[in-house]
Symmetry: C2
Subunit: 206 residues, 2 copies
Protein backbone atom coordinates (compact mmCIF):
# COMPACT_ATOMS: atom_id res chain seq x y z
CA UNK A 1 0.00 0.00 0.00
CA UNK A 2 1.31 3.43 -0.89
CA UNK A 3 1.66 5.86 2.06
CA UNK A 4 -0.99 8.59 2.18
CA UNK A 5 1.57 11.37 1.96
CA UNK A 6 2.81 9.99 -1.34
CA UNK A 7 -0.72 9.43 -2.64
CA UNK A 8 -1.49 13.09 -1.96
CA UNK A 9 1.53 14.21 -3.96
CA UNK A 10 0.65 11.83 -6.79
CA UNK A 11 -2.78 13.43 -6.93
CA UNK A 12 -1.13 16.85 -7.20
CA UNK A 13 1.15 15.62 -10.00
CA UNK A 14 -1.89 14.27 -11.84
CA UNK A 15 -3.74 17.55 -11.43
CA UNK A 16 -0.73 19.47 -12.84
CA UNK A 17 -0.49 17.13 -15.81
CA UNK A 18 -4.22 17.39 -16.48
CA UNK A 19 -3.99 21.13 -16.58
CA UNK A 20 -1.50 21.10 -19.43
CA UNK A 21 -2.81 22.25 -22.78
CA UNK A 22 -2.67 19.93 -25.79
CA UNK A 23 -0.18 22.37 -27.27
CA UNK A 24 2.44 21.74 -24.60
CA UNK A 25 5.33 19.35 -25.08
CA UNK A 26 4.70 15.64 -25.09
CA UNK A 27 7.41 15.25 -22.45
CA UNK A 28 7.88 16.90 -19.04
CA UNK A 29 11.04 16.85 -16.96
CA UNK A 30 11.05 16.18 -13.21
CA UNK A 31 12.24 19.78 -12.79
CA UNK A 32 9.24 21.18 -14.70
CA UNK A 33 6.79 18.93 -12.85
CA UNK A 34 8.30 19.82 -9.48
CA UNK A 35 7.87 23.53 -10.24
CA UNK A 36 4.20 23.01 -11.10
CA UNK A 37 3.65 20.85 -8.01
CA UNK A 38 5.59 22.95 -5.49
CA UNK A 39 8.03 20.23 -4.44
CA UNK A 40 11.65 19.43 -5.22
CA UNK A 41 12.64 17.64 -8.43
CA UNK A 42 14.27 14.94 -6.29
CA UNK A 43 10.93 14.34 -4.53
CA UNK A 44 9.15 13.92 -7.86
CA UNK A 45 11.69 11.39 -9.06
CA UNK A 46 11.63 9.52 -5.74
CA UNK A 47 7.83 9.32 -5.70
CA UNK A 48 7.54 8.15 -9.28
CA UNK A 49 10.39 5.63 -8.96
CA UNK A 50 8.03 3.60 -6.74
CA UNK A 51 6.04 2.67 -9.80
CA UNK A 52 8.64 1.51 -12.23
CA UNK A 53 10.80 3.05 -14.89
CA UNK A 54 8.45 5.86 -15.94
CA UNK A 55 10.85 8.42 -17.29
CA UNK A 56 13.63 8.53 -19.88
CA UNK A 57 17.05 9.76 -18.81
CA UNK A 58 17.67 13.24 -20.19
CA UNK A 59 14.20 13.40 -21.72
CA UNK A 60 11.74 13.25 -18.82
CA UNK A 61 8.32 11.66 -18.55
CA UNK A 62 5.92 11.23 -21.47
CA UNK A 63 2.94 13.29 -20.32
CA UNK A 64 0.17 11.11 -21.71
CA UNK A 65 1.69 7.94 -20.32
CA UNK A 66 2.43 9.43 -16.90
CA UNK A 67 -1.02 10.95 -16.59
CA UNK A 68 -2.60 7.64 -17.51
CA UNK A 69 -0.38 5.78 -15.06
CA UNK A 70 -1.18 8.16 -12.23
CA UNK A 71 -4.88 8.07 -13.02
CA UNK A 72 -4.99 4.31 -12.86
CA UNK A 73 -2.90 4.24 -9.67
CA UNK A 74 -5.26 6.70 -8.08
CA UNK A 75 -8.31 5.15 -9.76
CA UNK A 76 -9.05 8.74 -10.76
CA UNK A 77 -10.18 7.46 -14.13
CA UNK A 78 -11.71 4.14 -14.84
CA UNK A 79 -9.26 2.32 -17.04
CA UNK A 80 -11.03 0.03 -19.46
CA UNK A 81 -8.90 -2.54 -21.26
CA UNK A 82 -9.62 -3.02 -24.94
CA UNK A 83 -8.62 -5.64 -27.49
CA UNK A 84 -8.53 -4.85 -31.21
CA UNK A 85 -9.49 -7.83 -33.33
CA UNK A 86 -8.37 -7.52 -36.93
CA UNK A 87 -5.27 -5.38 -37.38
CA UNK A 88 -5.72 -4.25 -40.99
CA UNK A 89 -5.93 -0.65 -42.05
CA UNK A 90 -8.78 0.35 -39.81
CA UNK A 91 -7.59 -1.69 -36.83
CA UNK A 92 -4.12 -0.20 -37.12
CA UNK A 93 -5.39 3.38 -37.37
CA UNK A 94 -7.62 2.87 -34.32
CA UNK A 95 -4.85 1.26 -32.29
CA UNK A 96 -2.41 4.06 -33.01
CA UNK A 97 -5.04 6.66 -32.19
CA UNK A 98 -6.12 5.00 -28.93
CA UNK A 99 -2.55 4.39 -27.78
CA UNK A 100 -1.80 8.05 -28.35
CA UNK A 101 -4.95 9.68 -26.94
CA UNK A 102 -6.34 7.22 -24.41
CA UNK A 103 -8.88 9.49 -22.87
CA UNK A 104 -9.17 13.07 -24.16
CA UNK A 105 -10.93 14.43 -21.07
CA UNK A 106 -13.36 11.57 -20.64
CA UNK A 107 -14.21 9.79 -17.41
CA UNK A 108 -12.78 6.57 -18.75
CA UNK A 109 -9.35 5.88 -20.07
CA UNK A 110 -9.21 3.23 -22.78
CA UNK A 111 -6.11 1.18 -22.93
CA UNK A 112 -5.55 -1.09 -25.91
CA UNK A 113 -3.88 -4.04 -24.20
CA UNK A 114 -4.08 -6.66 -26.95
CA UNK A 115 -4.11 -7.02 -30.71
CA UNK A 116 -5.25 -10.12 -32.58
CA UNK A 117 -5.06 -11.06 -36.22
CA UNK A 118 -5.54 -14.39 -38.03
CA UNK A 119 -2.84 -13.57 -40.57
CA UNK A 120 0.39 -15.34 -39.52
CA UNK A 121 2.38 -12.71 -41.40
CA UNK A 122 1.03 -10.07 -39.05
CA UNK A 123 1.43 -12.03 -35.84
CA UNK A 124 4.63 -11.06 -34.10
CA UNK A 125 4.69 -7.57 -35.62
CA UNK A 126 4.08 -4.53 -33.43
CA UNK A 127 1.81 -1.54 -33.58
CA UNK A 128 2.74 1.28 -31.16
CA UNK A 129 4.77 -1.17 -29.11
CA UNK A 130 1.98 -3.73 -28.86
CA UNK A 131 2.40 -7.22 -30.26
CA UNK A 132 -0.08 -8.69 -32.77
CA UNK A 133 -1.07 -12.09 -31.40
CA UNK A 134 -2.75 -15.26 -32.58
CA UNK A 135 -6.48 -15.33 -31.75
CA UNK A 136 -5.78 -18.85 -30.39
CA UNK A 137 -4.37 -17.20 -27.25
CA UNK A 138 -7.33 -14.90 -26.76
CA UNK A 139 -8.88 -16.59 -23.71
CA UNK A 140 -5.60 -16.50 -21.80
CA UNK A 141 -4.89 -12.89 -22.77
CA UNK A 142 -8.41 -11.70 -21.96
CA UNK A 143 -8.12 -13.15 -18.49
CA UNK A 144 -4.58 -11.94 -17.76
CA UNK A 145 -5.14 -8.42 -19.06
CA UNK A 146 -8.78 -8.02 -18.00
CA UNK A 147 -10.00 -7.20 -21.49
CA UNK A 148 -13.53 -5.82 -21.33
CA UNK A 149 -14.20 -4.43 -24.80
CA UNK A 150 -13.46 -6.05 -28.15
CA UNK A 151 -13.17 -3.80 -31.18
CA UNK A 152 -14.15 -5.75 -34.31
CA UNK A 153 -12.24 -4.54 -37.35
CA UNK A 154 -12.15 -7.66 -39.50
CA UNK A 155 -13.72 -8.05 -42.97
CA UNK A 156 -17.47 -8.45 -43.08
CA UNK A 157 -17.42 -12.16 -43.84
CA UNK A 158 -15.17 -12.79 -40.83
CA UNK A 159 -17.01 -10.65 -38.29
CA UNK A 160 -19.45 -13.19 -36.89
CA UNK A 161 -16.74 -15.82 -36.34
CA UNK A 162 -14.36 -13.25 -34.85
CA UNK A 163 -17.01 -12.04 -32.40
CA UNK A 164 -17.90 -15.59 -31.40
CA UNK A 165 -14.27 -16.42 -30.74
CA UNK A 166 -13.97 -13.30 -28.59
CA UNK A 167 -17.15 -14.25 -26.73
CA UNK A 168 -15.75 -17.71 -25.99
CA UNK A 169 -12.59 -16.00 -24.76
CA UNK A 170 -14.60 -13.98 -22.24
CA UNK A 171 -15.29 -10.63 -23.94
CA UNK A 172 -18.92 -9.52 -23.62
CA UNK A 173 -18.91 -5.99 -25.03
CA UNK A 174 -18.15 -5.12 -28.62
CA UNK A 175 -17.60 -2.06 -30.74
CA UNK A 176 -18.35 -3.39 -34.20
CA UNK A 177 -17.06 -1.68 -37.33
CA UNK A 178 -17.87 -4.49 -39.76
CA UNK A 179 -20.95 -3.75 -41.89
CA UNK A 180 -22.99 -6.66 -40.61
CA UNK A 181 -25.37 -7.31 -37.70
CA UNK A 182 -23.65 -9.58 -35.19
CA UNK A 183 -25.77 -12.39 -33.79
CA UNK A 184 -24.80 -12.56 -30.11
CA UNK A 185 -26.48 -13.55 -26.80
CA UNK A 186 -28.88 -10.95 -25.33
CA UNK A 187 -26.61 -10.09 -22.38
CA UNK A 188 -23.80 -9.07 -24.74
CA UNK A 189 -23.42 -5.37 -25.43
CA UNK A 190 -22.79 -4.43 -29.04
CA UNK A 191 -22.37 -0.95 -30.39
CA UNK A 192 -22.29 -0.78 -34.18
CA UNK A 193 -20.43 2.14 -35.64
CA UNK A 194 -20.66 3.32 -39.19
CA UNK A 195 -19.09 6.31 -40.90
CA UNK A 196 -22.02 6.18 -43.34
CA UNK A 197 -24.39 7.20 -40.56
CA UNK A 198 -22.24 10.21 -39.80
CA UNK A 199 -21.98 11.18 -43.45
CA UNK A 200 -25.72 10.79 -43.61
CA UNK A 201 -26.22 13.11 -40.67
CA UNK A 202 -24.00 15.68 -42.35
CA UNK A 203 -25.74 15.26 -45.72
CA UNK A 204 -29.16 15.98 -44.26
CA UNK A 205 -27.91 19.35 -43.08
CA UNK A 206 -26.61 20.36 -46.53
CA UNK B 1 -33.36 13.08 -72.17
CA UNK B 2 -34.01 9.39 -71.69
CA UNK B 3 -37.37 8.17 -73.13
CA UNK B 4 -40.02 7.41 -70.49
CA UNK B 5 -40.33 3.78 -71.53
CA UNK B 6 -36.63 3.27 -70.83
CA UNK B 7 -36.81 5.17 -67.55
CA UNK B 8 -39.60 2.87 -66.41
CA UNK B 9 -37.49 -0.21 -67.16
CA UNK B 10 -34.48 1.33 -65.42
CA UNK B 11 -36.62 1.81 -62.33
CA UNK B 12 -37.60 -1.86 -62.48
CA UNK B 13 -33.97 -2.92 -62.82
CA UNK B 14 -33.10 -0.78 -59.80
CA UNK B 15 -35.90 -2.30 -57.77
CA UNK B 16 -34.69 -5.83 -58.67
CA UNK B 17 -31.14 -4.97 -57.67
CA UNK B 18 -32.27 -3.40 -54.40
CA UNK B 19 -34.15 -6.54 -53.48
CA UNK B 20 -31.03 -8.68 -53.65
CA UNK B 21 -29.70 -9.88 -50.32
CA UNK B 22 -26.17 -9.00 -49.23
CA UNK B 23 -25.37 -12.69 -49.54
CA UNK B 24 -25.96 -12.79 -53.28
CA UNK B 25 -23.14 -12.56 -55.80
CA UNK B 26 -21.38 -9.27 -56.34
CA UNK B 27 -22.04 -9.65 -60.09
CA UNK B 28 -25.27 -10.18 -62.04
CA UNK B 29 -25.52 -11.17 -65.70
CA UNK B 30 -27.92 -9.54 -68.14
CA UNK B 31 -29.71 -12.90 -68.33
CA UNK B 32 -30.24 -13.00 -64.54
CA UNK B 33 -31.39 -9.37 -64.43
CA UNK B 34 -33.74 -9.88 -67.37
CA UNK B 35 -35.35 -12.81 -65.58
CA UNK B 36 -35.91 -10.73 -62.45
CA UNK B 37 -37.24 -7.78 -64.47
CA UNK B 38 -39.47 -9.71 -66.88
CA UNK B 39 -37.80 -8.52 -70.08
CA UNK B 40 -35.35 -10.04 -72.55
CA UNK B 41 -31.61 -10.10 -71.84
CA UNK B 42 -31.09 -8.18 -75.08
CA UNK B 43 -33.39 -5.42 -73.80
CA UNK B 44 -31.40 -5.14 -70.56
CA UNK B 45 -28.13 -4.81 -72.44
CA UNK B 46 -29.60 -2.29 -74.90
CA UNK B 47 -31.04 -0.13 -72.11
CA UNK B 48 -27.88 -0.11 -70.06
CA UNK B 49 -25.60 0.49 -73.06
CA UNK B 50 -27.10 4.01 -73.17
CA UNK B 51 -25.12 4.89 -70.08
CA UNK B 52 -21.67 3.70 -70.88
CA UNK B 53 -19.67 0.55 -70.46
CA UNK B 54 -21.33 -0.73 -67.31
CA UNK B 55 -20.74 -4.46 -67.61
CA UNK B 56 -17.79 -6.77 -68.10
CA UNK B 57 -17.90 -9.25 -71.01
CA UNK B 58 -18.49 -12.75 -69.66
CA UNK B 59 -18.83 -11.49 -66.09
CA UNK B 60 -21.89 -9.23 -66.06
CA UNK B 61 -22.60 -6.08 -64.07
CA UNK B 62 -21.18 -5.35 -60.63
CA UNK B 63 -24.34 -5.07 -58.55
CA UNK B 64 -23.23 -2.28 -56.22
CA UNK B 65 -21.94 -0.14 -59.08
CA UNK B 66 -24.98 -0.72 -61.29
CA UNK B 67 -27.42 -0.01 -58.46
CA UNK B 68 -25.59 3.17 -57.63
CA UNK B 69 -25.50 4.23 -61.28
CA UNK B 70 -29.22 3.59 -61.75
CA UNK B 71 -30.04 5.38 -58.51
CA UNK B 72 -28.16 8.49 -59.57
CA UNK B 73 -29.67 8.38 -63.07
CA UNK B 74 -33.12 8.13 -61.58
CA UNK B 75 -32.26 10.48 -58.73
CA UNK B 76 -33.79 7.72 -56.60
CA UNK B 77 -31.10 8.36 -54.06
CA UNK B 78 -29.39 11.60 -53.45
CA UNK B 79 -25.79 11.05 -54.49
CA UNK B 80 -23.43 13.09 -52.38
CA UNK B 81 -19.85 13.40 -53.63
CA UNK B 82 -17.15 13.08 -51.02
CA UNK B 83 -13.43 13.83 -51.01
CA UNK B 84 -11.09 12.06 -48.59
CA UNK B 85 -8.24 14.30 -47.46
CA UNK B 86 -5.31 12.38 -46.01
CA UNK B 87 -4.97 8.87 -47.40
CA UNK B 88 -3.10 7.19 -44.57
CA UNK B 89 -4.37 4.17 -42.70
CA UNK B 90 -7.69 5.61 -41.65
CA UNK B 91 -8.32 7.43 -44.95
CA UNK B 92 -7.57 4.27 -46.90
CA UNK B 93 -9.86 2.10 -44.77
CA UNK B 94 -12.69 4.61 -45.09
CA UNK B 95 -12.23 4.94 -48.86
CA UNK B 96 -12.29 1.20 -49.39
CA UNK B 97 -15.35 0.86 -47.18
CA UNK B 98 -17.26 3.71 -48.83
CA UNK B 99 -16.39 2.56 -52.36
CA UNK B 100 -17.70 -0.90 -51.49
CA UNK B 101 -20.82 0.02 -49.54
CA UNK B 102 -21.90 3.46 -50.75
CA UNK B 103 -25.30 3.54 -49.16
CA UNK B 104 -26.38 0.48 -47.13
CA UNK B 105 -30.11 1.29 -47.31
CA UNK B 106 -29.80 4.99 -46.59
CA UNK B 107 -31.54 7.80 -48.42
CA UNK B 108 -28.22 9.17 -49.59
CA UNK B 109 -25.54 7.43 -51.55
CA UNK B 110 -22.03 8.63 -50.78
CA UNK B 111 -19.60 8.47 -53.58
CA UNK B 112 -15.93 9.06 -52.87
CA UNK B 113 -14.91 10.95 -56.01
CA UNK B 114 -11.53 12.29 -54.98
CA UNK B 115 -8.55 11.47 -52.78
CA UNK B 116 -5.91 13.98 -51.72
CA UNK B 117 -2.62 13.54 -49.95
CA UNK B 118 0.37 15.86 -49.47
CA UNK B 119 2.84 12.98 -49.70
CA UNK B 120 4.27 12.90 -53.24
CA UNK B 121 4.98 9.19 -52.79
CA UNK B 122 1.27 8.57 -52.45
CA UNK B 123 0.14 10.83 -55.27
CA UNK B 124 -0.45 8.82 -58.40
CA UNK B 125 -1.24 5.62 -56.50
CA UNK B 126 -4.76 4.22 -56.48
CA UNK B 127 -7.18 3.10 -53.81
CA UNK B 128 -10.15 1.09 -55.15
CA UNK B 129 -9.54 2.50 -58.60
CA UNK B 130 -9.39 6.10 -57.44
CA UNK B 131 -6.26 8.19 -57.94
CA UNK B 132 -4.57 9.96 -55.02
CA UNK B 133 -4.09 13.57 -56.13
CA UNK B 134 -2.11 16.61 -55.08
CA UNK B 135 -4.12 18.97 -52.85
CA UNK B 136 -2.94 21.73 -55.21
CA UNK B 137 -5.61 20.60 -57.68
CA UNK B 138 -8.40 20.58 -55.10
CA UNK B 139 -10.31 23.65 -56.30
CA UNK B 140 -10.51 22.33 -59.86
CA UNK B 141 -11.50 18.82 -58.73
CA UNK B 142 -14.12 20.07 -56.26
CA UNK B 143 -15.78 22.08 -59.00
CA UNK B 144 -15.60 19.39 -61.70
CA UNK B 145 -16.81 16.57 -59.47
CA UNK B 146 -19.21 18.57 -57.29
CA UNK B 147 -17.55 17.57 -54.04
CA UNK B 148 -19.78 18.48 -51.14
CA UNK B 149 -18.25 16.76 -48.13
CA UNK B 150 -14.59 16.63 -47.14
CA UNK B 151 -13.48 13.80 -44.85
CA UNK B 152 -10.48 14.96 -42.81
CA UNK B 153 -8.15 12.07 -42.02
CA UNK B 154 -4.80 13.83 -41.70
CA UNK B 155 -2.62 13.97 -38.55
CA UNK B 156 -3.79 16.33 -35.82
CA UNK B 157 -1.16 18.97 -36.49
CA UNK B 158 -2.16 19.10 -40.17
CA UNK B 159 -5.94 19.19 -39.71
CA UNK B 160 -6.52 22.92 -39.50
CA UNK B 161 -4.43 23.64 -42.62
CA UNK B 162 -6.02 20.77 -44.52
CA UNK B 163 -9.53 21.99 -43.69
CA UNK B 164 -8.66 25.56 -44.66
CA UNK B 165 -7.29 24.40 -48.01
CA UNK B 166 -10.48 22.44 -48.61
CA UNK B 167 -12.56 25.47 -47.65
CA UNK B 168 -10.68 27.63 -50.17
CA UNK B 169 -11.29 24.90 -52.75
CA UNK B 170 -15.03 25.17 -52.20
CA UNK B 171 -15.90 22.43 -49.65
CA UNK B 172 -18.13 23.66 -46.84
CA UNK B 173 -19.04 20.49 -44.95
CA UNK B 174 -16.56 18.33 -43.10
CA UNK B 175 -16.47 15.01 -41.32
CA UNK B 176 -13.47 15.45 -39.06
CA UNK B 177 -11.58 12.48 -37.62
CA UNK B 178 -8.56 14.40 -36.37
CA UNK B 179 -8.57 14.90 -32.58
CA UNK B 180 -8.71 18.69 -32.69
CA UNK B 181 -11.45 21.35 -32.88
CA UNK B 182 -11.38 22.90 -36.33
CA UNK B 183 -11.70 26.68 -36.45
CA UNK B 184 -13.95 27.37 -39.44
CA UNK B 185 -16.48 30.05 -40.49
CA UNK B 186 -19.92 29.76 -38.84
CA UNK B 187 -21.72 28.72 -42.04
CA UNK B 188 -19.44 25.68 -42.40
CA UNK B 189 -20.82 22.37 -41.19
CA UNK B 190 -18.41 20.24 -39.19
CA UNK B 191 -19.17 16.88 -37.66
CA UNK B 192 -16.43 15.58 -35.38
CA UNK B 193 -16.24 11.85 -35.00
CA UNK B 194 -14.37 10.00 -32.35
CA UNK B 195 -14.14 6.30 -31.60
CA UNK B 196 -13.39 7.30 -28.00
CA UNK B 197 -16.91 8.62 -27.61
CA UNK B 198 -18.29 5.31 -28.79
CA UNK B 199 -16.04 3.34 -26.49
CA UNK B 200 -17.14 5.66 -23.73
CA UNK B 201 -20.79 4.99 -24.46
CA UNK B 202 -20.09 1.26 -24.32
CA UNK B 203 -18.05 1.56 -21.12
CA UNK B 204 -20.83 3.28 -19.26
CA UNK B 205 -23.05 0.31 -19.93
CA UNK B 206 -20.55 -2.19 -18.53
N1 LIG C 1 -18.12 1.09 -40.03
C1 LIG C 1 -17.29 1.92 -40.63
O1 LIG C 1 -17.43 3.13 -40.60
C2 LIG C 1 -16.11 1.32 -41.36
C3 LIG C 1 -15.12 2.12 -41.93
C4 LIG C 1 -14.03 1.48 -42.54
C5 LIG C 1 -13.97 0.10 -42.57
N2 LIG C 1 -14.97 -0.63 -42.02
C6 LIG C 1 -14.94 -2.08 -41.93
O2 LIG C 1 -13.89 -2.42 -41.02
C7 LIG C 1 -13.38 -3.71 -41.36
C8 LIG C 1 -11.86 -3.64 -41.52
O3 LIG C 1 -11.54 -2.84 -42.64
P1 LIG C 1 -10.04 -2.78 -43.14
O4 LIG C 1 -10.03 -1.87 -44.32
O5 LIG C 1 -9.11 -2.48 -42.00
O6 LIG C 1 -9.79 -4.31 -43.61
P2 LIG C 1 -8.40 -5.07 -43.80
O7 LIG C 1 -8.65 -6.14 -44.80
O8 LIG C 1 -7.29 -4.09 -44.05
O9 LIG C 1 -8.11 -5.73 -42.36
C9 LIG C 1 -8.81 -6.82 -41.85
C10 LIG C 1 -7.87 -7.63 -40.96
O10 LIG C 1 -8.64 -8.60 -40.25
C11 LIG C 1 -7.88 -9.81 -40.19
N3 LIG C 1 -8.81 -10.89 -39.89
C12 LIG C 1 -9.66 -11.53 -40.74
N4 LIG C 1 -10.41 -12.42 -40.08
C13 LIG C 1 -10.03 -12.36 -38.77
C14 LIG C 1 -10.43 -13.05 -37.60
N5 LIG C 1 -11.42 -13.97 -37.62
N6 LIG C 1 -9.83 -12.75 -36.43
C15 LIG C 1 -8.85 -11.82 -36.39
N7 LIG C 1 -8.43 -11.12 -37.46
C16 LIG C 1 -9.00 -11.40 -38.65
C17 LIG C 1 -7.17 -9.86 -41.51
O11 LIG C 1 -6.04 -10.73 -41.45
C18 LIG C 1 -6.80 -8.40 -41.73
O12 LIG C 1 -5.53 -8.09 -41.18
C19 LIG C 1 -14.13 -4.15 -42.62
O13 LIG C 1 -15.24 -4.94 -42.22
C20 LIG C 1 -14.64 -2.83 -43.20
O14 LIG C 1 -15.80 -3.01 -43.99
C21 LIG C 1 -16.01 -0.05 -41.40
N1 LIG D 1 -11.54 10.11 -34.37
C1 LIG D 1 -11.22 8.82 -34.37
O1 LIG D 1 -11.96 7.95 -33.94
C2 LIG D 1 -9.91 8.43 -34.99
C3 LIG D 1 -9.53 7.09 -35.13
C4 LIG D 1 -8.31 6.82 -35.75
C5 LIG D 1 -7.51 7.85 -36.20
N2 LIG D 1 -7.91 9.14 -36.02
C6 LIG D 1 -7.16 10.29 -36.52
O2 LIG D 1 -7.24 10.24 -37.95
C7 LIG D 1 -6.07 10.85 -38.50
C8 LIG D 1 -5.40 9.92 -39.49
O3 LIG D 1 -4.89 8.79 -38.82
P1 LIG D 1 -3.97 7.77 -39.62
O4 LIG D 1 -3.60 6.72 -38.65
O5 LIG D 1 -4.63 7.37 -40.88
O6 LIG D 1 -2.70 8.70 -39.97
P2 LIG D 1 -1.60 8.47 -41.11
O7 LIG D 1 -0.37 9.14 -40.63
O8 LIG D 1 -1.53 7.01 -41.49
O9 LIG D 1 -2.18 9.23 -42.39
C9 LIG D 1 -2.25 10.63 -42.49
C10 LIG D 1 -2.09 11.01 -43.97
O10 LIG D 1 -2.37 12.40 -44.12
C11 LIG D 1 -1.48 12.94 -45.07
N3 LIG D 1 -1.44 14.38 -44.89
C12 LIG D 1 -0.81 15.09 -43.93
N4 LIG D 1 -1.10 16.40 -44.04
C13 LIG D 1 -1.93 16.54 -45.10
C14 LIG D 1 -2.58 17.64 -45.70
N5 LIG D 1 -2.45 18.89 -45.23
N6 LIG D 1 -3.38 17.42 -46.77
C15 LIG D 1 -3.55 16.15 -47.26
N7 LIG D 1 -2.96 15.07 -46.72
C16 LIG D 1 -2.15 15.26 -45.65
C17 LIG D 1 -0.18 12.20 -44.83
O11 LIG D 1 0.67 12.27 -45.95
C18 LIG D 1 -0.68 10.79 -44.54
O12 LIG D 1 -0.77 10.01 -45.71
C19 LIG D 1 -5.20 11.25 -37.30
O13 LIG D 1 -5.48 12.59 -36.96
C20 LIG D 1 -5.70 10.33 -36.19
O14 LIG D 1 -5.47 10.88 -34.90
C21 LIG D 1 -9.08 9.43 -35.44
Amino acid sequence: AVPDVIVRRLAIYLRCLQERSQDDDDFISSVQLSQLAGVTAAQVRKDLANFGQLGKQGVGYEVIRLRSKLASLLKADQVVSVAVIGVGELGTALTRYLRRYPYMELAHSFEVVALFDLDPQKQGREVEGLLIEDPESMAKVVQERHVRIGVITVPRIAAQAAAEAALRAGITAFLNFAPVRLELPPDTRVLNTDVLLELHQLAFSL
